[in-house]
């Protein structure tokens, strides 16, 4: 199955938070049996509701996990030119050697990579100077030009992190992660703290870097309108599992999982004066997920089989996979300004 232009191959990946509180063992199955591959030169979006495991999945992909999160099963292989590496089996030096230059990770919340007592300038020197491998003068020229593309004044290099607004800090970390033009960029909610004008510019910049370099981008957001505009393909995560995956247009116009259909159908728009129907029930507890299809307690299409049998993620069309026993019966909800008929 692995194609030569796959840069990342993930097979049967499971990562759990394993904890003991007052002697009681708990296991939160945040990433449960995920299989996917990311091609060279594509933008892959991961969508899903809060606490569905998006951040956990992306941390595992970025080889940035810490206890209590542990990889308990499966494999993950990156291929950068001649380098082939599974970060969970490789030596630490080898993993460190690919960071920033080949693989960069923009964390959710963004503050963590910036050292609070050092000026922004220093963070750029620390992380980007060596990987970029150019003389100092050129390094700063490139860095400043890059900041301007993100609507940031180069003056912010002299600032300390706490002196910047939330959205400015977020852009600084995006700048850090993209200034060396790495082959693989992983980003967790990269634009959630930005106003819509800056968000648009930042997304366009990420796409630009990606296209110039032919790099791959994997990014997480719960914001479906960002996916609509950024992603080539989208993977939908529900309760730690990948439940649907396919080309962006297909997922919006012809979803094959009822959860996806809900996600794209419930988008609020300016001008809404009454609430859209919310999904009944609440997200499952990943320490004790429902049997069968994890979505069945909230699913309008659920039948008895869904309560007991886990639906496998299977092909339902051209590069389109869905994990639903009733994928043939899924209809798109009336959505984005077009009548439902026009979409089906």
């Amino acid at each position: 199955m692995a194609q030569s232009n796959d840069i990342l191959t993930v097979k049967g990946l499971k990562a759990y938070y394993q904890m003991a509180y007052f002697g009681i063992e708990r296991e939160v199955r945040a990433v449960d049996d995920v299989t996917l591959s990311i091609r060279k030169n594509e933008v892959y979006g991961i969508a899903g509701e809060s606490s569905s495991g998006k951040t956990s999945l992306i941390k595992v992909l970025a080889a940035a996990i810490r206890p209590p999160l542990k990889v308990v099963d499966g494999s993950l292989t990156y291929r950068f030119g001649d380098i082939e590496i599974d970060p969970y089996k490789a030596k630490k030096e080898d993993v460190d050697a690919i960071r920033w230059k080949h693989l960069s990770y923009i964390m959710q919340g963004s503050m963590s990579v910036l050292n609070p007592v050092r000026r922004i300038k220093r963070s750029f020197e620390d992380f980007a100077f060596r990987p970029m491998g150019v003389p100092k003068k050129e390094f700063w020229e490139r860095t400043e030009a890059h900041l301007r593309r993100l609507n940031l004044s180069p003056d912010i290099l002299r600032a300390y992190p706490h002196e910047l607004s939330g959205g400015m800090r977020q852009r600084v970390t995006i700048a850090l992660a993209t200034v060396c033009q790495p082959e693989f960029i992983i980003a967790d909610e990269p634009t959630t703290a930005l106003d819509v004008v800056v968000q648009k510019d930042v997304l366009a910049m990420i796409r630009d870097v990606q296209q110039q370099m032919g790099s791959s981008v994997v990014f997480v957001t719960h914001d479906m309108s960002v996916h609509a505009n950024m992603a080539d393909r989208i993977g939908i995560v529900y309760a730690g599992r990948l439940v649907e995956e396919g080309p962006t247009r297909t997922l919006f116009t012809a979803p094959k999982h009822p959860y996806t259909s809900h996600l794209v159908g419930s988008l609020p728009r300016i001008g809404d004066t009454s609430p859209k129907a919310a999904l009944e029930g609440r997200p499952p507890n990943l320490a004790d997920p429902p049997a069968g299809c994890r979505f069945h307690p909230r699913c309008p299409l659920a039948i008895d089989k869904c309560k007991t049998d886990v639906p496998p993620l299977v092909a339902v069309g051209e590069s389109h996979r869905s994990a639903c026993w009733r994928s043939d019966d899924v209809k798109p909800l009336a959505t984005f300004g077009q009548p439902a008929e026009a979409l089906s």
């Binding site: 809060s50 003056d155 002196e163 004008v197 419930s266 609020p268 997200p283």
Partner: protein, 303 residues
């Protein structure tokens, strides 16, 4: 009419790059607005990233001192709050809501401990029964109960429940004003709706006013009574939310509305940077002129 909050000609200037630096940032420039006690409302602040929204919120909360202008709350100003009793009363009446429900709570601490701490410090309660009652009252207002969350850890609650608990914590001292700085930016669309509906409910049923800071124009439209749009420290447009958002008049407000991502051409690769001509017009005009009233009740900054 009595005034709940009066923000009058408030400005804030920061030194950037440490206090010894000579470089200044004018984070907030000459902002004025007032909220009335008898008319609880959702007052929304939207605008550019870095335009001074959080700074303004922090000044209202008394966490940052204005460089110029005055902020009074229920008739008392910053100087009056040097008195411990006045300060405590102020902290009861104006409460912040944390941004991200998943990060606001320490995963190793039971969530009710946060409520407990607030009941003790701000209400001075000591008895177990009275603390539990005040926690339960606050939780009831957000559609939960003490029984449901007692002894639970953050990861045992859904995102919506957690954000409700965060709001309940803020409600314990019976505030008249909640300051919610991007309370929904980290949550998905359906959770977002349930949180903003809760804010609406607090306004309608409990008379709580809310200053709601957001980048999400759809929820701003849906719940706000009035809103202000900020750019580079200035208020560029202010007025009834729907009037302003239906037909924004300042070039920056227009740019903002035009830049909302559309899903209609999902996956077609049509993403472009924000409209340059509009952006140039918006930046060129920023800060110019005066806020000028219009017939429909809004104010627009015009040269």
């Amino acid at each position: 009419m009595t005034t709940l909050l009066d923000v009058r000609n408030v400005s804030k200037r920061f030194a950037m790059g440490g206090i010894l630096s000579r470089q200044y940032t004018d984070a907030v420039i000459d902002v004025s607005f007032a909220l009335e006690s008898e008319k609880p409302e959702i007052f929304t602040i939207i605008g550019e990233s870095g335009s001074g929204k959080t700074t303004l919120a922090r000044m209202i909360l008394g966490l940052e001192e204005p460089s110029d202008g005055d902020i009074t709350f229920e008739g008392t100003g910053a100087a009056d709050r040097k008195n411990r009793k006045v300060r405590l009363q102020f902290m009861r009446r104006v409460q912040p809501v944390f941004q991200n429900p998943f990060e606001a709570f320490n995963p190793l601490k039971q969530v009710d401990r946060y409520l407990d701490a607030t009941a003790r410090t701000l209400l001075g309660l000591k008895g177990k029964a009275e603390i539990e009652k005040s926690m339960d009252d606050a939780l009831q207002k957000v559609g939960l109960s003490y029984r449901e969350i007692k002894g639970r850890y953050a990861h045992e609650l859904s995102g919506g429940q957690l954000q409700r608990v965060a709001i309940a914590r803020a409600l314990i001292p019976n505030p008249a004003l909640l300051i919610a700085d991007e309370p929904v930016s980290m949550v998905d669309a359906s959770l977002r709706m349930s949180i903003v509906n809760l804010l609406k409910d607090l306004r309608d049923n409990f008379g709580v006013s809310v200053i709601y800071i957001t980048h999400d124009l759809a929820t701003a439209y849906y719940i706000s009574d009035r809103l202000i749009i900020m750019q580079k420290g200035y208020v560029v447009e202010m007025g009834p939310a729907r009037t302003v958002l239906d037909a924004p008049q300042h070039p920056y407000s227009q740019l903002l509305k035009a830049s909302v991502l559309s899903v209609d051409d999902a996956g077609q690769g049509n993403l472009k940077p924000a409209d340059r001509a509009m952006a140039e017009a918006a930046w060129a005009k920023s800060g110019e002129g005066k806020l000028t009233p219009r017939d429909d009740g809004r104010m627009v900054r015009v040269g």
